[in-house]
Structure formats: C-alpha cells, structure tokens
Symmetry: C2
Subunit: 380 residues, 2 copies
Amino acid sequence: MMLQCSLCGAAVREDSLLWRCGCGAPFKADFGGIPPMNRKRIRSGEQGMWRYGASLPLERPEEKVSFGEGWTPLVREEWNGMKLFLKLDFACPTGSYKDRGMAYLVSRLRDQGIHEVIEDSSGNAGASMAAYCARAGIRCRVFVPSYTSEGKCVQVASYGAELERVPGTREDTTRAAEKAAETAFYASHNWSPWFAHGIKTFAFELWEQLGFTAPDAVLLPAGQGSLVLGCALAFEELLSSGEIETLPKIFALQPKNCAPLEEAFREGKPIPGKVRKTETIAEGISSAEPVRGREVLEAVRKSGGAVLSFSDREIWDGFVKLARRGYFVEPTSAIVAAAAERLSRDGGVGRRDTVAAVLTGSGLKGSGKILSLFASPPED
Amino acid sequence: MMLQCSLCGAAVREDSLLWRCGCGAPFKADFGGIPPMNRKRIRSGEQGMWRYGASLPLERPEEKVSFGEGWTPLVREEWNGMKLFLKLDFACPTGSYKDRGMAYLVSRLRDQGIHEVIEDSSGNAGASMAAYCARAGIRCRVFVPSYTSEGKCVQVASYGAELERVPGTREDTTRAAEKAAETAFYASHNWSPWFAHGIKTFAFELWEQLGFTAPDAVLLPAGQGSLVLGCALAFEELLSSGEIETLPKIFALQPKNCAPLEEAFREGKPIPGKVRKTETIAEGISSAEPVRGREVLEAVRKSGGAVLSFSDREIWDGFVKLARRGYFVEPTSAIVAAAAERLSRDGGVGRRDTVAAVLTGSGLKGSGKILSLFASPPED
C-alpha cells in the first residue's frame, strides 16, 4: 500500500514506517484501484463497522483487530421543530467514536508487523489505542499531559499501556511523543493516514440507517477534525459510486476558547493560523495546532457547510438539554446540541432538512467534571 | 395484558397497577397466545433488540421508548484453551445491560399511561430508569443508599430524575421506596414482570450471532438474577419453537461476601435464606434478599447449570485479566472472568464447549473505585 503526501504529493511505501512526509505534511492513504462503497459491497454478515470492510483494505482481513465496534444506534429527535438524528457513538467499546479509527489503524499496524507504538492523547484516543493494542498484542506507550485526570489515566493503564505524563500544555505532550518516536513507531491517530478511514464508517452507517440516503447536514465536533475528514471520505465515495447525488453540508464545531479552524474559515484562509487558547469545557476538541487543518477546511468548504464556534456557556446548556432527553455525554460532545440550538433558531439549515449529529464520547468519562459544572456552570 | 403470580398463580389485570401479588410474591407476565421467537419472526429492519419485537408485545409499538439499545458486539476469546464469547452489553446507551430491560419496562409504563414512577437502585438500574423516563416524559424518583458515590448519582441526576438518598443498607433503600410507592407507581425493575423480557433479548442475540445455535453454557453475574431469568425465558422460547434442541447450562455467579442463591443451590433448598452480607467489590450483585430467588434457582437447576461463588480476590484477578485483553468493565462484571478461569482449569464445561459470558457494566462507571483497587487489591 502506498502513502501520498497531502501537500507536496510525494509518494512513499507504507512499510517505510514514515509518519510524515519529508516536507512536514501528513500523508493520505492511496487505496489505488479499490472501488468506492455502494450498497452491493456491504458485508451484512460482518459485525459493526466491518460491514463496510470492502472500503477498509487489509492484507490479512481475517486477523483484523476488532471488538465488534460500530453500527451504533441512530435516534430521532425533534429540536425546535428541526428533524435531528443523533448517532450514539459514545456507545462504542471504549466509550468514544475513536474506536472506529483505532480498529482500522491498529489492524494496519498488525499487518505491518509492528510490535511497539507511541501515541499521544488527552483522553479518548489514548484509551482507545491502549485497548486495541491490548487485543493486538502490541506494546503501547501513551503520552498524556500531566494535568490529565486520574479517572482518564486509570482506563489507559488498566488496558496495560504505559503512561508517560508530560508537564506543560497538550502541545508539549505531542512534542515529547514525537521525540520518543525516534526509537519506536509513532502511531499518532492525527498523523495516521488510516485513522480517518476507520472513522468514515460512521457516515456509511448514517447513509444506510437513513434508508440509503445522505442527510442534508451533519454536525461534528472538531478539534483535529477526524470526524470531518472521515465524513468527507465516506460521502465522496458514495457520490462517486452514484449512491448519493449531493454531499451533505458539514458543520464543524469548535469551542470559542480554542477555534483555529473557525477563525481561518471566517477569514477565508486556507490554513489555520496561531490562536490564543484558553481553558474550555470541550477539552476533547481543544486543539490549537490541527495537523490536518488544511484538509479539514477544504472538506468543509467543498460541502457548502461552515465552521462555527460556541461559548462554554452554550456548550453547557447543550449538555443539560441532551441529558434531560436521556443522553449522558462528555461536555465536549454537547457542542452538537449547542449547534442544533443555533441552527434550528437562526436558520442555517432548511425547515425540512434532515440533520445528523454525532455524540462522540460517554459522560461516564467525565462524571467528576460534570458534577463540578452543575455546581458552578460556565458564565455567559 | 394479564399478570400471574409466580407463587400462588393468582391472575390480575396489568392496569390494576399492583406491583406484587396479595400473597407477597412477584408477578410474571402472561403473554397469552403470542408464539415463541423463531428466526422467521426476527424484524431485521428494526434497530437493536427490537429485531425481536415480536416477543415484546406492546399496545402501541410505534411509541416504544428506545435509544436503539441492544445488538451489542459478541467477541471471541480463548481462555486457557476454552472457547469463550464475550457479549459486550456494557456498550449499551447508559453503560449497562439494564437498558434492555428498561426499554421494555418503560415502554409498557407509557402504554399504561403512567406519568410518575419510583425506582430503587444502587447504580446501573437507576441510571437506566432515569434515562428511559427522560425519553418517555415520565417523572422519575430514584431512591439510592446514602453511601452511593457522587459519580453514580451525577448520571441519574443529569437525566433529570429526582434523587432520594436513604441512610442505612441497600435493603433499607428498598423499604423506603416501597413506602413511597403508596402514592406513586413503584416501577421496581426487580418486581416488574416486564424487565426480564427485555433482558431476554441478549440471549436471542447470542443465538443469532452464533449462527442460530445456543451456546453450551452461559456465565451470568447474579444478584437479583434478572440475567438468569431473561436467559431462561429466551432459550425456553427457542426450545418450544424448535429452534434449539437443548437449553444451555446457566452458571449464575455470586460474590462469596453475599451469596444467598449459591448457598441455597448448594444446600438443595428451593428458596434463598437469610445470609450475612459483607462488603464486596461486586457491589452490583450484592443482593441479600433476591425478590425472585425461587425462580432463579429453578431456572439454573432446570438448565443443568450451577450457582458458583467467588472471592473478591478472584473477581479482581478477573478484572485485571479482562482489562489486559482490552475490556474495561465494572468490577462486578469481572466475576465472569473469575468463572471462566475456574471452569477452564477445573473442568465443569467440556473442552469443545462454546461458552458465552455477558459483560454487564462499563468500567467508566467505577474509575475511582478501580483506581483504589489497583492501589490496594483485595487479599486472598
């Protein structure tokens, strides 16, 4: 399998084990002659997301690393008169949508015979990587910021991964992981060309669960933007196979306190610039330096959607509204409810449009934090 | 729909709103002429457990209260040479298998036009009841022991349920709820005749996911024993429709520190007696007075299985073994790994038998407790 630089177009072999191009940009996967997904290519006998295995090539598919992840519920709601479908990806095996990406990423690591990896994460991705490496028998070192809560660390450590706590910011953690990667494979989900292909299965599921139609709009939390990239990959495949006629509008959602993609989108820039980052309750999407920012902005613009930003107060209000309807999610995930609230009141989607939103992570990951937010909610 | 006393056989109408028989025993549901499940009755177009909706009668099925729960992954493992299938029911919407029972129970409450309910729970059932009542628009009061951790309470409260903290033991909480039930409907999942019918869908899924065959043995954590009852209901249906030829052996698993069912089973008694209860890490199945103890013992004996008990040390060792394979579960759920360990080493199931085990609750519900167990594990 070949990798292609997303910026300069240079091609390298996957077994070179390079995690980024010499020019500094991330790689994309080149799937060569594999036809795009259509309804005839669905393997209905397979568990979960692997029903779309035809679009997730592996050298030894029978040895894929899987917990049966995916094929999560899609639940219909009315939101101020708007038809909203919630995709319950927090009900994945490790409690977040990241499992889709990790199942494919770690399966490819096993295909390559890799025995030891390094990942950096502030939470969900580290837990997911640790679980899939445990199943694959791959040694896993997860770098986390030293401020990461014990509750999040205990899940990673339970799976048997080695935790490396790094002082400083989330970005300092990434730099420490990159440095360690001089002696072991850096399997960063953000740099990986495979991760977004695993993620794209959520969008195939939307399409199938909606009776083989695309929604008109999709609401996606965006930090590094893997959901946006996965969404674009899936609907591009379905468009090119003739299964759908138009791409859904992608709304990428960021916290106001860390919104590099939103700023670049608003200013018409092709890549995100430096931003001042302050604390936010949407910690899972608080990414000041999105690795694939250019690709994410391109995907949003091509879809006719937008990048929107929300205050912590709006996100918290969204959390409470979701919980009162029976959805207990991470505060990060609640940004989709803030978006549903704004779009349903101010327009932005049509009255008869079908809107889908991904609930990305379980509230059980942040019970302590949620408790303190009830005690002192964010101010306006 | 009629209810029938599980002990004296008295029949009452469901709309009497009685939650137990005048003789003091719990009711069973009388489904009358509804034929048992077979593969032709599966509704493959329905989400999750509702593919078995033909065996979950409702007056207004289109108004069922559902988050698309069920159809959870089944993952194959080898355990000391034993073929073990793990059913990932912790990946239900509220983080536990209870969602199956609550989806059906709360759907029936809505059918009956009930607007306010009382439940008592030490954790998972309360959270699940609160979520489904939120979706159904039913006011919900959940009674919990005052020692219940804040982490568990925050999930229940987030869904908008009213929490009532009761001093004393788990059994004192039940008595407080029963007293409050003089003025509102007591929807206790343990007393409900519907709950186990929702639970039975996990066993239908086992059958379908194993290629329409029954496993040889099933490992089930048992406090009140709803999994045992649901398992028996499902496989009895499949036996009477001719889909399977023998019932799987049911192994009901209890912590040594609270094992009324195990003691009665060992001593050949028809109902559990009083037991001394001490603290256990398997708090989800620490039930000193199982409401349906007689039915549970009957089901286990009829299947040719057994009730087994395990020390906290064995359960904790099971937790670690599961986690190292990528499954992060509540310590309660880890009792199935303790059982797999014992049965695979000492026999008890055949070398070529197919064994299935339910992983009932998410480890994310007990991160704090798991952290302290790593620091000071239970002693032998």
